[in-house]
Amino acid sequence: MIEINLLLGFIIIAAIIAVNAKDLLSAVVAVGVSGLGICITFLTLKAPDLAITQLVVEILCLMILVNATIKKDLPFSVSGRWFLNTLITIIFLIAFLYIGYQAISGIPRFGHPTMRVASIYIREGLEKVHAANLVSAINLNFRAYDTLGEATILFAAAIGVMAVMRSKGRKKKEERETE
């Protein structure tokens, strides 16, 4: 599958640019480009549901990140021991890649998955649930506990954002009372 390898190469180049850019806005735009590449890769891998979700989530994530980086500069300063830290990190990453390569040699080849549970869902999904979209049927009927857990996580994240963003008002009131 040569086109998947080409798309992955494009995504890796965009990610390298995002990590090494000096300007914060350029880095955020590069992350947006790599997310778009991931969306096209999902389409090539026959997953239309995922492509729609990834595109929309990408847009929202970019909106939040771009508004966080307006008018704030990157302080460019290099401290001592820079060479030693980078060397240790690169050695660690090479060891990680080597162990990962050993792990990858053990899983089935690309394109021939062992679908033991999924073959049951494909065979009996339509007659048990009468839903044409198998991904929705699995998400909301066969594995609905996971969707309940996900709704809880989204709820907790919304409450967390509200709690973090609001504490400024209360502190000012306390300061006014102690004066």
Binding site: P48, D49, I52, T53, V56, V57, I59, L60, M63, I64, N67, A68, I70, K71, K72, L126, V129, H130, A131, A132, N133, V135, S136, A137, N139, L140, N141, A144, Y145, T147, L148, A151, L154, F155, A158, V161, M162, M165
Partner: protein, 150 residues
């Protein structure tokens, strides 16, 4: 129609296009939510698309338009209604068996009213997602306020 105020928001070209496009984006989002069991999409993607139609108005016209149309109390109530509706549908499965059982009759496939409780769950999840997307807007508004104060 939303009036054009030259001080806030973007130029008049962007405002005219945003006025026309928002209705289509909203309709497309509702279509994806309701057809979640027939074609790809479902509650998550559709809910975010509905939120994006409000974000388009906020980016083009400034934040006062959204704040007077959707006050902040509405968003909290919408989120709680979505989550409680999802849990309620799950608990009603006790009436004919176990937790999360599909208790509506399943019709013929490929029609809009088929597949048991899946369309109702899609709508409940979409309500949750819409309010999350709108929370994202308010996070961005607070960020804008911080960056303008400096």
């Amino acid at each position: 129609m939303i009036q054009h105020n030259a001080n806030k928001g973007m130029s008049i070209i962007v405002k005219s296009i945003a006025r026309i496009l928002t209705g289509f984006v909203l309709l497309y989002g509702i279509y994806i939510v309701l057809h979640g069991h027939i074609s790809p999409g479902g509650g998550f993607a559709g809910g975010f698309i509905i939120a994006l139609s409000y974000i388009l108005i906020m980016l083009a016209f400034g934040k006062e338009e959204i704040l007077q149309r959707v006050p902040q109390a509405t968003i909290t109530i919408l989120e709680s209604v979505g989550a409680i509706m999802f849990l309620f549908i799950a608990l009603l499965g006790f009436s004919s068996g176990y937790f999360f059982r599909n208790w509506l009759p399943e019709g013929t496939p490929f029609k809009l009213l088929s597949a048991g409780t899946i369309p109702i769950s899609n709508v409940a999840l979409a309500l949750l997602e819409v309010s999350l997307g709108l929370f994202g807007i308010f996070l961005v508004l607070v960020l804008l306020k911080f960056s303008q104060k400096k």
